[in-house]
Protein backbone atom coordinates (compact mmCIF):
# COMPACT_ATOMS: atom_id res chain seq x y z
CA UNK A 1 0.00 0.00 0.00
CA UNK A 2 1.05 3.60 -0.55
CA UNK A 3 1.20 6.30 2.13
CA UNK A 4 2.54 9.84 2.40
CA UNK A 5 4.75 10.82 5.34
CA UNK A 6 5.41 14.46 6.23
CA UNK A 7 7.89 15.99 8.67
CA UNK A 8 7.80 19.47 10.20
CA UNK A 9 9.98 21.88 12.15
CA UNK A 10 13.00 20.42 13.95
CA UNK A 11 11.98 16.86 13.01
CA UNK A 12 12.05 17.89 9.32
CA UNK A 13 15.48 19.45 9.84
CA UNK A 14 16.84 16.42 11.70
CA UNK A 15 15.90 13.95 8.96
CA UNK A 16 16.52 16.49 6.14
CA UNK A 17 13.23 15.43 4.55
CA UNK A 18 9.92 17.26 4.08
CA UNK A 19 7.86 14.50 2.58
CA UNK A 20 8.05 10.87 1.48
CA UNK A 21 5.78 8.70 -0.59
CA UNK A 22 6.23 5.15 0.64
CA UNK A 23 5.23 1.75 -0.61
CA UNK A 24 4.89 -0.17 2.62
CA UNK A 25 4.12 -3.72 3.53
CA UNK A 26 0.74 -4.64 4.91
CA UNK A 27 2.62 -5.59 8.09
CA UNK A 28 3.25 -1.92 8.94
CA UNK A 29 -0.21 -1.49 10.32
CA UNK A 30 0.49 1.13 12.99
CA UNK A 31 2.29 4.45 13.34
CA UNK A 32 4.60 2.75 15.85
CA UNK A 33 5.63 0.14 13.29
CA UNK A 34 6.18 2.86 10.68
CA UNK A 35 8.43 4.75 13.13
CA UNK A 36 10.48 1.61 13.72
CA UNK A 37 10.85 1.07 9.96
CA UNK A 38 11.87 4.70 9.31
CA UNK A 39 14.35 4.57 12.21
CA UNK A 40 16.34 1.98 10.25
CA UNK A 41 17.29 4.75 7.81
CA UNK A 42 20.05 5.96 10.15
CA UNK A 43 20.99 7.50 13.44
CA UNK A 44 19.43 10.89 12.69
CA UNK A 45 16.10 9.23 11.90
CA UNK A 46 16.21 7.03 14.95
CA UNK A 47 17.01 9.98 17.20
CA UNK A 48 14.38 12.28 15.70
CA UNK A 49 11.60 9.69 15.81
CA UNK A 50 12.37 8.74 19.42
CA UNK A 51 12.11 12.39 20.53
CA UNK A 52 10.18 12.24 23.85
CA UNK A 53 7.75 14.98 22.82
CA UNK A 54 7.22 13.74 19.26
CA UNK A 55 3.64 14.16 18.04
CA UNK A 56 2.16 12.07 15.24
CA UNK A 57 -0.88 12.72 13.09
CA UNK A 58 -2.79 10.53 10.66
CA UNK A 59 -4.86 12.33 8.05
CA UNK A 60 -4.35 15.63 9.91
CA UNK A 61 -5.53 14.38 13.29
CA UNK A 62 -3.21 13.89 16.28
CA UNK A 63 -3.14 10.22 17.26
CA UNK A 64 -1.43 7.81 19.64
CA UNK A 65 1.32 5.74 18.06
CA UNK A 66 -0.88 2.64 18.25
CA UNK A 67 -3.10 4.21 15.57
CA UNK A 68 -3.60 2.08 12.48
CA UNK A 69 -2.46 3.04 8.99
CA UNK A 70 -4.25 2.17 5.77
CA UNK A 71 -3.64 2.66 2.06
CA UNK A 72 -3.66 6.32 1.02
CA UNK A 73 -3.16 7.72 4.53
CA UNK A 74 -1.10 10.82 5.26
CA UNK A 75 1.11 10.43 8.34
CA UNK A 76 2.98 13.38 9.89
CA UNK A 77 5.64 13.72 12.59
CA UNK A 78 6.37 16.97 14.41
CA UNK A 79 7.34 18.52 17.78
CA UNK A 80 4.91 20.35 20.11
CA UNK A 81 3.15 23.20 18.34
CA UNK A 82 3.85 26.89 18.97
CA UNK A 83 1.22 28.92 17.13
CA UNK A 84 -0.48 32.22 17.84
Amino acid sequence: MTITVKFFSLIREAVATEQLTLEISENLLTVEALKAELSLRGEAWEEALSHPNLIQAVNQRVVFQEEGIKDGDEVAFFPPMTGG
Binding site: F8, A57, R61, M81, T82, G83, G84
Partner: protein, 154 residues
Protein backbone atom coordinates in the same frame (compact mmCIF):
# COMPACT_ATOMS: atom_id res chain seq x y z
CA UNK B 1 -14.38 33.00 5.32
CA UNK B 2 -14.35 31.59 8.86
CA UNK B 3 -10.79 30.27 8.77
CA UNK B 4 -8.02 31.74 6.67
CA UNK B 5 -4.41 30.54 6.91
CA UNK B 6 -2.18 32.63 4.69
CA UNK B 7 1.41 33.58 3.91
CA UNK B 8 0.24 37.06 2.87
CA UNK B 9 0.15 40.07 5.22
CA UNK B 10 -3.04 40.47 7.24
CA UNK B 11 -4.65 43.70 8.47
CA UNK B 12 -6.47 43.23 11.80
CA UNK B 13 -8.16 46.65 11.49
CA UNK B 14 -9.74 45.77 8.17
CA UNK B 15 -10.62 42.27 9.40
CA UNK B 16 -12.34 43.69 12.50
CA UNK B 17 -14.24 46.32 10.50
CA UNK B 18 -15.47 43.66 8.07
CA UNK B 19 -16.47 41.36 10.93
CA UNK B 20 -18.48 44.16 12.63
CA UNK B 21 -20.17 44.94 9.32
CA UNK B 22 -21.17 41.35 8.62
CA UNK B 23 -22.02 40.41 12.22
CA UNK B 24 -23.65 43.40 13.96
CA UNK B 25 -24.32 41.37 17.11
CA UNK B 26 -24.69 42.65 20.68
CA UNK B 27 -21.19 41.64 21.88
CA UNK B 28 -18.14 41.29 19.66
CA UNK B 29 -14.63 40.51 20.92
CA UNK B 30 -11.54 40.65 18.72
CA UNK B 31 -7.95 39.64 19.50
CA UNK B 32 -4.93 40.57 17.38
CA UNK B 33 -1.49 39.06 17.98
CA UNK B 34 1.73 40.64 16.68
CA UNK B 35 5.30 39.38 16.33
CA UNK B 36 7.33 40.48 19.34
CA UNK B 37 10.87 41.85 18.97
CA UNK B 38 12.24 40.07 22.03
CA UNK B 39 12.32 36.68 23.73
CA UNK B 40 13.79 35.37 27.00
CA UNK B 41 17.30 35.46 25.49
CA UNK B 42 17.13 38.95 23.97
CA UNK B 43 16.33 40.61 20.69
CA UNK B 44 14.44 38.99 17.81
CA UNK B 45 15.04 40.28 14.26
CA UNK B 46 12.57 38.11 12.41
CA UNK B 47 10.31 35.10 12.71
CA UNK B 48 9.74 32.11 10.46
CA UNK B 49 6.42 30.43 11.10
CA UNK B 50 6.19 26.94 9.65
CA UNK B 51 2.74 25.50 9.04
CA UNK B 52 1.11 22.16 8.19
CA UNK B 53 -1.44 23.93 6.06
CA UNK B 54 -4.08 21.25 5.53
CA UNK B 55 -4.08 20.27 9.20
CA UNK B 56 -4.06 23.90 10.41
CA UNK B 57 -7.20 24.67 8.43
CA UNK B 58 -8.91 21.58 9.81
CA UNK B 59 -7.83 22.19 13.45
CA UNK B 60 -8.85 25.86 13.39
CA UNK B 61 -12.21 25.04 11.81
CA UNK B 62 -12.89 22.40 14.48
CA UNK B 63 -11.74 24.85 17.17
CA UNK B 64 -14.05 27.63 15.97
CA UNK B 65 -16.99 25.28 15.66
CA UNK B 66 -16.26 23.89 19.13
CA UNK B 67 -16.12 27.40 20.60
CA UNK B 68 -19.37 28.33 18.88
CA UNK B 69 -21.10 25.34 20.42
CA UNK B 70 -19.54 25.74 23.87
CA UNK B 71 -20.21 29.46 24.23
CA UNK B 72 -23.30 29.85 22.04
CA UNK B 73 -21.58 32.16 19.55
CA UNK B 74 -23.47 33.87 16.76
CA UNK B 75 -20.33 34.14 14.59
CA UNK B 76 -16.56 33.68 14.70
CA UNK B 77 -13.46 34.08 12.55
CA UNK B 78 -9.83 32.92 12.84
CA UNK B 79 -7.07 34.25 10.57
CA UNK B 80 -3.48 33.03 10.99
CA UNK B 81 -0.25 33.89 9.18
CA UNK B 82 2.61 31.61 8.28
CA UNK B 83 5.93 32.16 6.49
CA UNK B 84 8.46 34.94 7.10
CA UNK B 85 7.43 37.77 9.42
CA UNK B 86 9.04 40.83 10.97
CA UNK B 87 8.57 42.26 14.48
CA UNK B 88 5.20 44.06 14.79
CA UNK B 89 3.69 42.13 11.87
CA UNK B 90 0.18 40.85 12.67
CA UNK B 91 0.32 37.07 13.14
CA UNK B 92 -3.18 36.09 14.28
CA UNK B 93 -6.69 37.57 14.38
CA UNK B 94 -9.66 36.08 16.23
CA UNK B 95 -13.21 37.47 16.37
CA UNK B 96 -16.16 36.10 18.32
CA UNK B 97 -19.68 37.47 18.59
CA UNK B 98 -22.44 36.56 21.02
CA UNK B 99 -25.51 37.99 22.73
CA UNK B 100 -23.51 38.93 25.84
CA UNK B 101 -19.92 40.03 26.49
CA UNK B 102 -19.09 37.15 28.86
CA UNK B 103 -19.50 34.53 26.17
CA UNK B 104 -17.73 36.64 23.52
CA UNK B 105 -14.71 37.31 25.80
CA UNK B 106 -14.47 33.71 27.04
CA UNK B 107 -14.75 32.22 23.56
CA UNK B 108 -12.02 34.50 22.18
CA UNK B 109 -9.69 33.58 25.04
CA UNK B 110 -10.52 29.86 24.69
CA UNK B 111 -9.71 29.97 20.97
CA UNK B 112 -6.38 31.72 21.53
CA UNK B 113 -5.34 29.51 24.47
CA UNK B 114 -6.14 26.35 22.50
CA UNK B 115 -4.68 27.55 19.22
CA UNK B 116 -1.26 28.20 20.79
CA UNK B 117 -0.68 24.52 21.57
CA UNK B 118 -3.06 22.62 19.27
CA UNK B 119 -2.75 24.24 15.85
CA UNK B 120 0.18 22.96 13.73
CA UNK B 121 2.42 26.02 13.55
CA UNK B 122 6.05 26.17 14.65
CA UNK B 123 7.90 29.42 15.37
CA UNK B 124 11.58 29.85 14.59
CA UNK B 125 13.04 33.10 15.90
CA UNK B 126 16.06 34.68 14.26
CA UNK B 127 18.66 37.08 15.58
CA UNK B 128 21.37 37.83 13.04
CA UNK B 129 22.60 34.49 11.71
CA UNK B 130 21.24 32.60 14.71
CA UNK B 131 17.89 30.84 14.47
CA UNK B 132 16.15 28.84 17.14
CA UNK B 133 12.89 26.90 17.28
CA UNK B 134 10.58 28.19 19.98
CA UNK B 135 9.60 25.63 22.62
CA UNK B 136 6.21 25.42 24.31
CA UNK B 137 6.05 27.53 27.46
CA UNK B 138 4.57 26.13 30.67
CA UNK B 139 2.24 29.11 30.90
CA UNK B 140 0.79 28.25 27.48
CA UNK B 141 0.19 24.64 28.56
CA UNK B 142 -1.36 25.85 31.81
CA UNK B 143 -3.67 28.27 30.01
CA UNK B 144 -4.71 25.50 27.61
CA UNK B 145 -5.33 23.05 30.46
CA UNK B 146 -7.55 25.54 32.36
CA UNK B 147 -10.25 24.98 29.75
CA UNK B 148 -10.13 21.20 30.19
CA UNK B 149 -10.43 21.66 33.96
CA UNK B 150 -13.45 23.89 33.38
CA UNK B 151 -14.89 21.08 31.24
CA UNK B 152 -14.54 18.58 34.06
CA UNK B 153 -16.07 21.03 36.56
CA UNK B 154 -19.27 21.16 34.57
Amino acid sequence: MLVHVTDRAIDPGNLAAAFYRHHPDAAVTTFSGFVRDFNDAGQVDSLYLECYLEMATRVLTDLGNGAAQRFGLRAWQIVHRYGHLQPSDPIVFVATSADHRGEAFAACEFVMDTLKTDAPFWKREHYGEIGQWVTVKDIDKDRRDRWSEKDSDQ
